[in-house]
């Protein structure tokens, strides 16, 4: 029920905003209220969630069309709960930013933002392949409009690129879904077994690699992140990219153990290349958004390293890093939006000296920047450490590449901070440009507070992303020791993954 409510409340909110004649402020306030209700719902789900118990929780199921065994089936695992949490928090901040920035055509805009919230939550909770696909494509519709209508000057080209990349990927996935579902006799993710077809695996993996994006499928990224309104770019890089993480974890790895193992080396290489290449691009990017955009590419590479490390610390690190990067990226894009409003440009060459007389802005950017560059003690450090420790299993070279990338991260983040805050006062910076306003602080402080909380207690996520049974099963499936049928049978009988006969855990 709770999961269904998490999906339906924003969708219903979207309808209310669209259909009734609200004023701009009223439409935005309603949207913000709905997104806060959504946060409340998530907290309820979190409070009621039993992390000791493994398997699907808060699930709901109803037949959609029975002849092909397609159903509305949603529910939460530990890791999906955290990704949903990231979604609701980031979307609330983005909607708040939209309200503060007084977006034109408010009813359409806020309706689309709420619609997007519902679709993303749907992606993270869907337990039926066709339903997952519907939500996955459903995210595209509001994003297309949000970039295409409210975006910057080059928005038309950006949207076309974005849509064509994404749809090309997701149509490959559709073929895989049809073939997988019909050959399994069901489209349900919980009921279906595993497959060893490399083609089906590639269909899914490429779709998710485009969505993430992973090198070399990131061609749409710079345009889309630059031309979007800042809060949409925040959502795109912070939240929507995590749909790929979820898809890789829940479908590509869990349902295709053998192909995932066969392609492990390829994927690790691409992820590592993306990590280093993205870091260099971020270091060379001429504008604020470019730095954040390419750092997202790098971070998605890092998360993928963790996902394909094939052990529990890699997986836990990937989930933690997804949440942390989501929050960091959202905060940075919202800050970038604030900077662009003040200087009317994001070019680093014409920025500078913003710290002087603007202590709040400087503090905020410094805090997030320091977390982003994974200073020891920060949440990002915890995530990266776990990922590197995990991927060490696959060979020390991956850990070395990861460690090098962390140095590179320090380089691009510090360059960003000094180019914006320090150095000589930039030509585009008006001396009367204000410090962060209370409304902006109201949006940014909760995000930073979440980050600080995770820095203090990263185990909140890493100990609660997978139950022991989940991890053992995923590992067993990944090692090819197990086709997954036994634990699936256990799951159908309602016993949960923990009931499944334990397998020796890898030493981390």
């Amino acid at each position: 029920m709770l999961t269904t409510a998490l999906i339906l409340v924003p969708l219903a909110g979207a309808l209310v905003v669209w259909l009734l004649p609200w004023s701009r402020f009223a439409a935005g306030s309603i949207a913000l209220l709905v997104s806060l209700v959504e946060v409340g719902l998530w907290i309820t789900a979190l409070a009621g969630f039993d992390f000791g118990e493994s398997g699907l929780q808060d699930s709901a199921r109803a037949s959609w069309f029975s002849d092909l065994e397609v159903s509305y089936h949603v529910g939460l695992y530990g890791f999906s709960l955290w990704l949903v949490g990231l979604t609701v928090v980031a979307m609330a901040a983005a909607i708040g930013y939209g309200l503060w920035a007084e977006r034109e055509r408010a009813r359409t805009y806020f309706g689309l933002m709420l619609f997007l919230t519902g679709a993303v939550v749907g992606v993270f909770t869907a337990q039926d392949l066709l339903l997952f696909y519907a939500f996955f494509e459903g995210m595209l519709i509001p994003l297309y409009a949000l970039i295409g209508v409210w975006g910057g000057r080059g928005r038309q080209a950006a949207t076309i690129k974005f849509v064509i990349y994404t749809v090309a990927g997701s149509l490959l996935m559709l073929v895989s879904i049809i073939v997988f579902g019909l050959s399994q006799g069901t489209f349900d993710l919980v009921d279906s077994g595993t497959s060893d077809s490399p083609w089906l695996f590639l269909g899914f993996a490429v779709a998710f690699a485009i969505k993430a994006p992973l090198f070399p499928l990131h061609g749409w990224l710079p345009d889309a992140y630059r031309e979007s309104p800042p809060e949409v770019a925040a959502v795109l890089s912070g939240v929507v990219s995590k749909a790929a993480v979820y898809g890789l974890l829940r479908i590509a790895i869990a349902k295709f153990p053998e192909p995932a193992d066969d392609f492990r080396l390829t994927i690790l290489v691409l992820a590592a290349v993306g990590l280093v290449y993205g870091s260099f691009l971020a270091f060379r990017a001429p504008d604020v958004r470019g730095v954040i955009a390419y750092s997202s590419l790098a971070q998605m590479g890092l998360i993928t390293l963790g996902l394909f490390a094939g052990n529990s610390s890699g997986l836990n690190g990937a989930v933690l890093q997804s949440v942390v990067h989501g929050l960091v990226s959202t905060t940075l894009f919202l800050l970038a939006g604030g900077i662009e409003r003040r200087a009317s440009t994001g070019e680093l060459a014409s920025l500078g000296g913003l710290a002087k007389g603007r202590p709040l802005l400087a503090t905020m950017l410094m805090t997030v920047g320091v977390i982003a560059l994974a200073v020891p003690g920060s949440a990002a450090f915890a995530g990266e450490f776990l990922i590197l420790a995990g991927v060490f299993d696959q060979g020390w070279v991956w850990a070395v590449i990861g460690a090098v990338a962390i140095v590179l991260a320090a380089m691009y983040v510090l360059r960003l901070i000094s180019a914006v805050l320090h150095e000589r006062e930039g030509s585009a910076v008006p001396s009367e440009a204000l410090d962060l306003r209370p409304a902006e602080l109201g949006l940014l402080v909760p995000l930073v507070a979440c980050l600080l909380a995770l820095s203090a207690w990263p185990a909140a996520v890493t100990d609660r992303a997978f139950s022991d049974g989940d991890v053992r099963t995923l590992q067993a499936v990944q090692r090819g020791e197990e086709d997954g049928s036994a634990f699936l049978a256990a799951l159908r009988d309602g016993d949960g993954w923990a009931e499944y006969a334990p397998i020796e855990e890898d030493a981390p």
Partner: protein, 495 residues
């Protein structure tokens, strides 16, 4: 008292209702004062379609077992009844779209004839989908085709209308002639007219390799391909869709396509089940050509009606995929897909009609700029229709494509699925082009409103568009009941 043969009038009731409506509309054109003609004719046609819809629904409910009437020439089964339901729904909405259409001035505005022909075309289509022998097949085809030829040309003052009508007449007659020739060859080879009898004769007389029969089948497929506007038999489609009055285009694109595809499926499955190796390949090839031609040509169109015409060609390809699958799932997929497809197609042309009346000029992607903001309801509806054509979620087009591809996969045509998917990816570009024109143009690109401001919104047209919207979106959520309708209908055919 001489004995009269017993006729199952109930099975024919939808046709009779539409014929009666046509008669009333035509008489009204002669007998009532000029000012009353239009309301009378439109009302008669609308109620004719509504009555026929109800009768078709009753026939559907009461025809659990298929039976044949009038010397086995006409099938009374759920398959025909479901197709008739789609045709009648489309006809009813087409009346709403037609209401404000200017067909000409003064004496030259033939409203009575227009509505009479609209009803008569529907009657012909309902007759056509029930065809169970070659004679009725040809008769039904000609019946509704002739009505459509005239309807296309009826707005004689409209640029291109006469030309389109003439083109449709010539090319369409050519298609009909090919079909007739095919019928003759099949009859010559088997000595039978009834579909079931042809199938029986094929197997008992060992005609599987008979060149006459094969040639006849090929010509039948060609003739039906003309009506379904499948490539390479689609040459008339863009010109006719562009030149015809837009409500006629809306009706044609929904109803003609439905009946042509439904009858193709019926003929192939009932009359040529043993030749399936031949016709499945043929249809798969036609589907691929249609997808390629339709999509690539649509990419470069600026005129929205032409673009939608090519999209209609590519959809003929999409919907031939489940027919080519030749299995029961394919029949189900086709019948399901036709429901949202008809709604999307009719709705899209209705929105074009609305814009056309505002501008009094052909609608292009350029002068569509900003329409979405001016008319939120029509704009949002158009957006949904475009998403539906492209097979994105929240529309029945998504589920329809999913079913069509599933049917093809079950039949072992994985490559056809991949072709279909690639075509979908290409199609997204031009469908989103419409959305871009509606919503994403800058203020400088907006077209000045015509002198005297925009006309007030038309309630009937808006109602029709909203109905299409409800069907398009509703068919995404209510898959189960619709697919049960389609399954029961497809079960009337001997898969």
């Amino acid at each position: 008292m001489s004995e009269t043969p017993s006729v199952d009038w109930f099975a024919l009731s939808p046709i009779l209702a539409l014929l009666a409506a046509a008669g009333i509309a035509l008489l009204g054109a002669v007998l009532v004062p000029a000012g009353w003609r239009k309301p009378l004719a439109a009302l008669a046609t609308a109620s004719g379609y509504a009555t026929a819809f109800v009768f078709s629904a009753l026939v559907y409910v009461r025809s659990e077992d298929a039976s044949f009437v009038v010397a086995d020439s006409f099938a009374r089964d759920r398959f025909a009844a479901l197709a008739a339901l789609i045709v009648c729904g489309a006809g009813l909405l087409a009346v709403g779209v037609s209401w404000s259409e200017r067909l000409g001035h003064g004496e030259r505005e033939h409203v009575g004839e227009y509505y009479a022909l609209l009803a008569a075309a529907g009657a012909g289509m309902v007759f056509f989908v029930g065809a169970s022998n070659l004679m009725v097949l040809f008769l039904g085809l000609e019946w509704f085709s002739i009505c459509l030829y005239v309807l296309t040309a009826i707005a004689a003052e409209r640029v291109g209308s006469l030309e389109a009508g003439l083109k449709y007449l010539i090319v369409g007659s050519f298609g009909s002639a090919v079909l007739l020739f095919g019928c003759a060859l099949v009859y010559g080879a088997t000595g039978e007219l009834g579909f079931g009898a042809i199938a029986e004769a094929t197997s008992t007389q060992g005609l599987l390799d008979d060149p006459l029969l094969l040639a006849g089948l090929a010509m039948l497929i060609t003739g039906l391909g003309f009506k379904a506007s499948a490539a390479p038999f689609h040459m008339w489609t863009p010109d006719v869709y562009e030149g015809a009055p837009t409500p006629v285009t809306a009706f044609m694109s929904a109803a003609t396509k439905t009946v042509a595809l439904v009858v193709t499926l019926r003929v192939l499955v009932t009359a040529f089940p043993e030749l399936d190796e031949f016709w499945t390949i043929a249809l798969a090839a036609i589907a691929c050509i249609s997808l390629a031609v339709g999509n690539l040509a649509a990419l470069v169109q600026r005129d929205v009606k032409r673009m939608l015409a090519y999209s209609s060609v590519s959809h003929a390809g999409f919907m031939l995929i489940p027919i080519a699958a030749g299995n029961e799932l394919g029949g189900r997929a086709l019948l399901y897909y036709l429901i949202p497809y008809s709604a999307m197609s009719l709705g899209a042309f209705a929105v074009v009609a609305a814009r056309e009346r505002e501008l009094r000029a052909p609608v292009t992607l350029d002068n569509l700029a900003g329409f979405g903001w001016e008319r939120p309801v029509l704009g949002a509806a158009m957006w949904v229709f475009m998403l539906g054509f492209a097979g994105l979620p929240l529309t029945g087009g998504f589920v329809g494509k999913f079913y069509a591809f599933s049917a093809a996969y079950e039949a072992g045509w994985t490559w056809l699925v991949i072709v279909g998917v690639a075509a979908t990816a290409v199609s997204l570009y031009y469908y989103l082009g419409v959305v871009r024109a509606l919503y994403m143009r800058s203020g400088a690109e907006l077209q000045p409103v015509v002198v005297g401001g925009s006309p007030p919104p038309e309630r009937l047209l808006q109602g029709a568009v909203l109905a299409c919207l409800v069907v398009t979106v509703g068919s995404f959520f209510a898959v189960q009941p619709l697919i049960e309708l389609a399954r029961d209908a497809a079960e009337s055919l001997p898969f």
